[in-house]
């Protein structure tokens, strides 16, 4: 009989709901529970946190998540794979061990996968940046972090060495799911079609609720029941790559051909070449078939040989952003909002605020898609003025919000609810690193 594993997806981003993961652990009949919690820029912010505290730099919700799911996962033998290690997987593993001990679960084996931090290798190579003209060295002291998207191999190896919990930093999101498949079925690391189909599974599962009806509802067109108690997805994967996406019976949401198709193409560019550390996956011939309520069969994922490079996410201090908002309502709200924007535009010039880029817009009218796309919309009852600008210093950024706030006593009639902010911007760019320059390692921590 063909062997099958059930992998649950317990988080689609770092701040995601926690109780659907517990529901999966309790009722999902799982062997593996994966938490994908590391956004593009999160690792750079986490690196800043680690610089302030050598024991910090991992996911801020790690403790809450682990406390919620560890007792049931330990009781049922469900293994956990997560990138909640962020910039400090070893500290995250030590913290998890401490939590396990405090819960009386002292037999758990916890592994940290390290080696995604490739800052030194990137500096030595002075690699070119993909998004704009320039190199790593040219970022100078604005450079914060460089983390390679590791593949599934070290995670699968940790599982093979008996880890109950595997904690990584930067790794490819689908690889978090591919690792249990490679471990459970012994897939060869050059069986490109299997790795491609496994990547399809990981890609579909990694955003958790986005395949069970979250980020999907459009009343009257695409109705979804129970979004307040949305169930998170389960992938049933066979050793030959057969895949069914489902969820816990009775949970909210829905798994349909439509939800699966939307997620299949989410954040995908050329569907024939979805670049991953372990494989170049090909989604172009994937088939989607509803076989029962909340059960969708996915087949046809393929792959070709992996590339010689790993994508590296480079975090750097980009600039500062200052912002201010204020609202107008009732008859003439639109005209007063436009007048407010004109006033702030003139004020920023008059007072010499040094901004390299500025946005003037009305929330409720044109802020999301610009004046051209929005030009035929009806006049709203209320509008919210928004001015945002990019500056080289926090001091200049603060001045932008101030010029909106002073509209209270100096601007059009009846402005209310002013708000302002100024913040530094840690941005992310990418470089490609020769694969052999990243050297993943596994460190075990006993509970």
């Amino acid at each position: 009989m063909m062997r099958t594993i059930r992998i649950g997806s317990g988080a689609g981003y770092s701040g995601d709901r926690i109780e659907p993961a517990l529901e999966l652990a309790e009722k999902g009949d799982l062997q593996y529970l994966v938490f994908e919690c590391l956004g593009e820029r999160t690792v750079a912010l986490a690196q800043q946190a680690r610089m302030k505290d050598p024991d910090g730099g991992y996911d801020p919700l790690l403790e809450e998540r682990m406390r919620a799911v560890l007792p049931v996962c330990a009781a049922k033998g469900i293994k956990i794979v997560t990138n909640m290690g962020a910039a400090n997987p070893e500290a995250a593993a030590r913290k998890t061990a401490e939590i396990a001990r405090s819960l009386g679960l002292s037999s758990l084996k916890i592994a940290a996968v390290i080696g995604d931090d490739v800052l030194d290798a990137c500096k030595d190579g002075d690699l070119p940046i993909m998004e704009f003209d320039g190199t790593i060295k040219q970022l100078g002291n604005r450079l914060l972090s460089a983390n390679a998207y590791l593949g599934a191999e070290p995670m699968a190896q940790a599982l093979g060495e008996g880890a109950d919990i595997v904690i990584t930093g930067r790794a490819s999101d689908p690889a978090l799911f591919l690792a249990p498949m490679i471990h459970a079925f012994g897939w060869a690391m050059d069986d490109w079609n299997l790795l491609g189909q496994g990547t399809v599974a990981g890609h579909l599962l990694e955003c958790a609720g986005q395949i069970t009806g979250g980020y999907f509802a459009d009343p009257g067109y695409k109705d979804v029941a129970g979004l307040a108690r949305l169930g998170f997805p389960i992938g049933e994967v066979g050793e030959d790559g057969a895949l069914v996406i489902t969820k816990v019976a009775g949970s909210g949401g829905a798994v349909t051909a439509q939800t699966c198709k939307e997620q299949l193409l989410y954040e995908v560019h050329d569907p024939r070449r979805y670049l991953q550390p372990d494989v170049v996956a090909d989604f172009s011939q994937v088939k989607v078939e509803e076989i029962a309520p909340d059960r969708v069969r996915i087949s046809g994922g393929r792959g070709t040989q992996r590339t010689d490079t790993l994508k590296v996410s480079v975090g750097y201090v980009d600039s500062f952003i200052g912002e201010g908002q204020i609202s107008y309502a009732g008859p003439g709200a639109l005209a007063r909002g436009r007048l407010a924007l004109e006033i702030v535009r003139e004020r920023l010039k008059l007072t010499g605020v040094a901004a390299s880029e500025l946005r003037f817009e009305l929330i409720g009218v044109e802020s999301l898609h610009g004046a051209e796309v929005s030009s035929h919309a009806a006049e709203p009852y209320e509008v919210r003025v928004r001015v945002a600008g990019r500056t080289e210093s926090l001091r200049e950024a603060i001045r932008i919000g101030n010029e909106v706030e002073t509209l209270y006593t100096n601007g059009p009639a009846a402005g209310g609810g002013a708000w302002k902010s100024a913040r530094d911007v840690v941005a992310v760019a990418s470089v490609l690193l020769p694969r052999d320059l990243a050297k993943p390692q596994i460190r075990f921590v006993g509970a």
Binding site: E131, D218, E262, V268, H269, D270
Partner: protein
């Protein structure tokens, strides 16, 4: 009719590139998508938003198109001044496209 009547859509982001899927509810409408939802039309629809090129990929097995739009996110998700830095709301805007029904269609 509107594109919203025959297709659904989701937006994704990577760096300064946005992708929008357009998926026919019924495979019989896929030829309408192929014929009428062209890269040029999508680029024109997002005038003032998308500064780069728009490339279309076809996925006949799931009756879907995937549009990849470069220089579409105000410099990139992590540094954009935009309220919706990810461009997540773009999919809804695209569903407002007018579609000419095929003859005999309803």
């Amino acid at each position: 009719m509107k594109l919203r009547d025959i297709a659904h859509s989701r937006t994704g982001d990577k760096g300064n590139t946005s992708n929008i899927s357009v998926i026919a509810y019924h495979e019989k409408h896929y030829p309408l998508l192929l014929a009428q939802v062209t890269s040029a039309r999508v680029k024109a629809h997002f005038a003032g938003v998308v500064e780069g090129e728009v490339v279309r990929y076809e996925l006949p097995d799931i009756s879907a198109l995937n549009f990849v739009m470069s220089a579409a996110l105000g410099g990139g998700v992590t540094r954009s001044l935009a309220l919706d830095a990810h461009g997540k709301s773009l999919s809804s805007a695209l569903l407002d496209l007018d579609i000419e029904p095929a003859s005999g269609d309803n």
